[in-house]
């Protein structure tokens, strides 16, 4: 396929246990669920029928609680875990069809990975850590060193190359982890809960920095997190997992405003909808406010509020030339009130 997404997983199953094949058949036909599969086959269903794709340059978040299978899913993309069934395509190539050498090449050149507990090698210097992917590809030493310095510069750790990991704080160590993933200039980044082991303030710094880097470098990113706020902040799209299944995939707005299941709505209940609500959703239909300022239907609430704070009393919502409705302070107050009641 010419315009296939860089990362594409189709009907992915991963079942752990000796009788995985039997359990797979039973689970596919819907005979058994996660608990039943364990009782009857002694198998643990890690990932159940998951399909998703990550578009070029997109940050795709997979969010779920521990044990939901999100860390298992991400390890299928570079085949650190072999699927029980399903298709995995990376940049148009079937990952399952690669021989060991091709697979190692794919991992070294195309895919960078960041780990939850940094996983820096304590016996190597920072720049040896960062350049490992290049060392594996037998890149000459000077090139390696230059690439490592470059990558460290990007994460604002220039000049730390000759230190050792245990001389760095947790936040700095994870920057090194990020630099290591970037050093070989891969197209795809796999981030396995990269910031969850960090203090809240340092986490926020790193999130902001990663967003900035991500916008500059446009890496296709699969980002795992158990923190919904983080997913909302980082992701262009979010997939929510429960018991190995992806229960909903969508933009942050979609997830918050239109949760697909009871489970998702419980999850998002703590998130304020105000940031995501747009004009068309709260306006009173019909009627115009003569002389009022005009906005498009998808204008987000914060922009509307700004207009009010600048002195407007009513706004007209227009789609091109067509008048859709109007928004006054009553609509705004009603929205805030229902959002507060929701939490």
């Amino acid at each position: 396929m010419a315009n296939e997404h860089p990362v594409n997983c189709c009907n992915l199953w991963k079942i752990f246990g000796a009788r995985a094949e039997q359990a797979l058949e039973a689970a596919k036909s819907g005979e058994v669920d996660k608990d039943e599969a364990f009782k009857r086959f002694g198998c643990v269903i890690g990932v159940a029928d998951a399909s998703f794709s990550v578009a070029e340059g997109e940050v795709f978040c997979i969010m779920g609680l521990s044990g939901s299978g999100k860390s298992t899913i991400i390890r299928h993309v570079n085949r650190l875990i072999e699927p029980t069934a399903g298709l995995i395509h990376v940049e148009g190539r079937d990952v399952m069809g690669l021989n060991p050498k091709e697979l190692r090449e794919l991992r070294a050149r195309k895919i960078g990975m960041v780990f939850q507990h940094m996983a820096l090698w304590p016996h190597k210097t920072i720049s040896e850590n960062v350049a490992f992917g290049l060392e594996v590809q037998k890149t000459p030493k000077e090139t390696r060193r230059a690439a490592a310095d470059d990558a460290l510069e990007r994460v604002s750790l220039g000049g730390w190359g000759d230190r050792y990991p245990d001389e760095l704080s947790g936040g700095m160590q994870q920057r090194v982890g990020l630099a290591r993933a970037l050093a070989a200039d891969p197209d795809i980044l796999l981030m396995d809960e990269p910031f969850s082991a960090l203090d809240p303030l340092i986490r926020k710094d790193l999130q902001d920095e990663f967003l900035k880097l991500s916008r500059e470098m446009k890496k296709t990113t699969l980002f795992i997190t158990h923190d919904l706020d983080e997913a909302m902040k980082m992701g262009n799209r979010i997939a929510i997992m429960k018991d190995g299944r992806i229960v909903q995939t969508g933009t942050p707005e979609n997830i918050v405003l239109r949760p697909a299941t009871e489970y998702v709505s419980r999850f998002v209940s703590s998130i304020s909808t105000l940031k995501y609500i747009s004009a068309v959703e709260i306006m009173t239909q019909g009627g115009t406010a003569p002389g009022a300022r005009e906005f498009g239907p998808s204008t987000p609430l914060p922009a509307l509020l700004k207009a009010f704070s600048e002195g407007a009393e009513e706004l007209t919502i227009k789609d091109g030339d067509r008048c859709l409705g109007r928004i006054g302070s009553a609509e705004i107050l009603e929205t805030v009130k229902s959002d507060l009641a929701r939490v």
Binding site: R107, M113, F115, Q116, A119, W121, P122, F132, V136, R180
Partner: protein
Amino acid sequence: MDFSALLDPFASVQIPLADLANDFIRWLTSNFRDVFRAMKVPVKILLDLLEDGLRDTPQTIIIVALSFFAWQLVNRATAILTFVAMTLIGLIGAWDAAMTSLAVLVSAVLIATLFGLPLGILCSRSKLVWIIVRPILDFMQTVPSFTYLVPVILLFGIGNVPGVIVTAFFATPPLVRLTNLGLKTVREDLVEAADAFGASPVKRLWSVELPLARPTIMAGINQTVMLSLAMSVIASMISVAGLGRLVLVGISQLDMARAATGGTGIVLLAMVFDRITQGFGLTRRDRNGKGLWEQGPVGRLRGLLAGNRIKT
């Protein structure tokens, strides 16, 4: 039917283990004599090289070199211990015997490492290998060390070379076990990270797993050294020269003087080589963030050179 046979079964039914063992050794000696002879050759070359080297080098040079080695590898306290212990060995008149023992020790440890380390690595890679090797190690470690002597005499004869072989055999199991253990307990995510960045199994072993398992593996080497020294008195029963023989002769002739000399010599050597081999297992963190060549005499020298460069 005679029921008494059921109550006392071993009177009538027995496995002829003694005969089997006898036949097995006889079969080995008659069919593989040349193989065992050939195995002695490289051991003899190694042992002669070491022994001649140690005996021909002036005592002062050995003491000073060993002390500097200990300083570089571990710290200054170990260097002082080495200096004092080696000097004492000379003062009590055990120098020559100690050099022979040292040659046997180093040869045995080298051979044990040559076989133990790869075997330990294989055990950590393959479940099957470990299932097979484990009972053999259990056997090797529980059989009393005297028992090794009989087949060794039959297969290799007596003297220093068979002594090295029996010592190496006796000292290998802990190295196999600890190499296996060290490799299996490397932090899993560090190994996974090597995979994720495209390392081949060999590359992963060489640049991630072995370095991280080094402290445990070196504890195995340390055990090998200690067991080799513990074996020295027993090995002297098959006519191995050195400190062990002093002890053996002392015991058999009730000659307290010789026994004390030999015994003290063994203890002093053991202390020195225990501390030095423990130094192999030190990591950067143990050395307060200093690399091996940033400490000890080399570190000082580098410091001095750097200082001069700044001045000029």
